[in-house]
Amino acid sequence: MSPYDFKRVLVAIDDSAGSQKALDCALSVCSATGARLTALAVEGKLPAYAGSLGEVDEVKREKDRYFAGVLGAARFQAGERGITLATDLVPGHPAEAITHYAKAHGHDLIVVGHRGHLLGDYLLGSTADRVAHHAHCPVIVVR
């Protein structure tokens, strides 16, 4: 059995164009291989050094609502191609959360989108760069 007979694929999504391409790619891979597909959205940072609990709760609720929409749209898109898409939403730093989640849940392939380099990415590396660098399994970066 080849290590590239993918059984569990993880695709990281938000609502960017790169992430849409990543989802398309992941759906095609799963269509071809029969692998199970999970879409993961990462909520990112909450307000740092908050002055009140309400401020944190409000942003958290807003993010929950927003990403519920993103994941719902992804499920609909997968359903149209006859694929059952599992979805999950986790808090935290995107690259760390994606690599941690993939390892913890036994995924053997990660698919991420490339959004193009922003200014900060030249200094720190993009999320896709960091996922590719730290992941325990193969990573497809979709342009």
């Binding site: 050094y49 009140s52 609990l53 309400g54 401020e55 760390e96 941690h100 730290h134």
Partner: protein, 398 residues
């Protein structure tokens, strides 16, 4: 600058802070404080304009009330002993050390050093909460323990502030009786009041809370004291009511954070003298050490006993500070107990304590959420890498 011109400038700063908060993902309170520092030092705004001083003073009591109302009494009871001991030590240790350092080494007056002790011993429930929610730890036992311990420290701060300022006079018994009466009566009448008058645009229930807070402030002033402790306890006894009526609490927060607290934090910032801070960087470091060393020296051993796997994380969380530290410092300045240089140094240390321990805790000591959640469920799982920390590169993982 006229009062209206000052209001217009501050309103512009408030909008700017809100936009920056959304764009940068940094708390609006910290940005308001920061913009207040910049505007105050560049344009020499007058922080003692009566309307500004009044709104900021009311806002500080509303903030205290909200801090009490945000406590979950059930979480607090769950690990009462541990949270009480960590919370009390987290206050008493830095309080005594900061008091001794400022009184003995720096020669501050007794009351000024007590203000320093109070401002530097606080924790920030909100800063801690953001870290816990972001990492998913807020629903774990360790998260609840840290939140409860922060609450205990907040309570100690409120007690200390009330004790420092009180100069009992003939009105003192009235202050005590009226405070107790309001604390007992408001939670009892709130459900019926809410049922009859609540959920309306005119917000009678928020006005009722404001009346209660103003009443506490009036009797506090009559007794030469402050309404901090009664307002905090009033918030605490109202927390169950707000658990049942989340929208009411939300609306109160909206009113507070849209109109009241921005003026409090801006005024705090305007009072900070940057030249005074830069001229006293050594003192700044000393005061920061006076906060951090006792937190680590005294909280860490206790944390090791109660949460041995995450003692450093717990200690760092208990070392944060922001709102109560700013309130304590501003009270000292308003009352003429500390001067502008002392205030500037204390607020700078408070802001640093919001940033530095949080960054260190998130970067290097964030607990394993999956492990904690599973431990809470009564089974020990295979440990996973820390979600809040950098995963090891492939090939280096054990």
């Amino acid at each position: 600058m006229t009062a209206t011109e000052l209001a217009a400038v501050l309103a512009a700063l408030i909008v700017l802070a809100s936009i920056a908060s959304v764009e940068l993902g940094v708390s609006v309170a910290l940005l308001e404080l920061g913009l207040g520092v910049v505007a105050g030092n560049l344009f020499h705004l007058d922080p003692n304009t009566p309307w500004l001083a009044f709104i900021a003073s009311f806002a500080s009591i509303v903030l205290t009330f909200l801090a009490g109302a945000e406590v979950d009494p059930d979480d607090f009871r769950e690990r009462f002993g541990a949270s009480l001991s960590i919370g009390v030590v987290s206050f008493v240790g830095p309080f005594l050390v900061a008091w001794a350092v400022t009184a003995v080494l720096l020669g501050w007056t007794l009351k000024a050093s007590l203000i320093a002790g109070t401002a530097l011993s606080t924790t920030s429930l909100a800063v801690v909460y953001a870290v816990l929610v972001e990492t998913g730890l807020n629903s774990t036992r360790i998260g609840k323990l840290i939140m409860s311990a922060c609450f205990v420290t907040d309570m100690c701060t409120a007690i200390a502030l009330s004790a420092i300022f009180i100069k009992p006079n003939a009105w003192f018994p009235l202050y005590v009786v009226a405070s107790i009466a309001i604390i007992v009566i408001l939670p009892k009448i709130s459900p019926r009041f809410f049922h009859r008058y609540g959920d309306r645009v005119i917000e009678p229930e928020i006005k009722l809370v404001f009346v209660a807070i103003f009443a506490l402030m009036v009797v506090g002033e009559l007794a030469n004291g402050q309404a901090v402790l009664p307002a905090f306890v009033l918030g605490l006894v109202m927390s169950r009511h707000y658990q049942r009526h989340r929208q009411e609490q939300e609306r109160l927060r909206v009113v507070a954070f849209a109109f009241l607290t921005p003026f409090f934090f801006l005024r705090g910032g305007i009072n900070v003298s940057l030249p005074a801070v830069f001229a006293n960087l050594g003192l700044l470091a000393l005061l920061l050490a006076a906060k951090m060393i006792p937190k680590f020296g005294l909280v860490l051993p206790l944390a090791r006993r109660h949460v041995p796997d995450h003692a450093a994380f717990t200690t760092l969380m208990m070392s944060t500070g922001l709102t109560f530290g700013t309130i304590s410092s501003l009270y000292g300045l308003n009352a003429g107990i500390i001067d502008r240089t002392q205030f500037s140094l204390l607020v700078s240390v408070v802001v640093l304590s919001a940033i530095v321990p949080t960054a260190i805790a998130q970067r290097w000591f964030s607990p394993d959420v999956a492990g904690e959640a599973a431990t809470d469920r009564g089974r020990l799982p295979e440990r996973q890498p820390l979600p809040g920390s950098r995963p090891l590169p492939a090939g280096e993982q054990s």
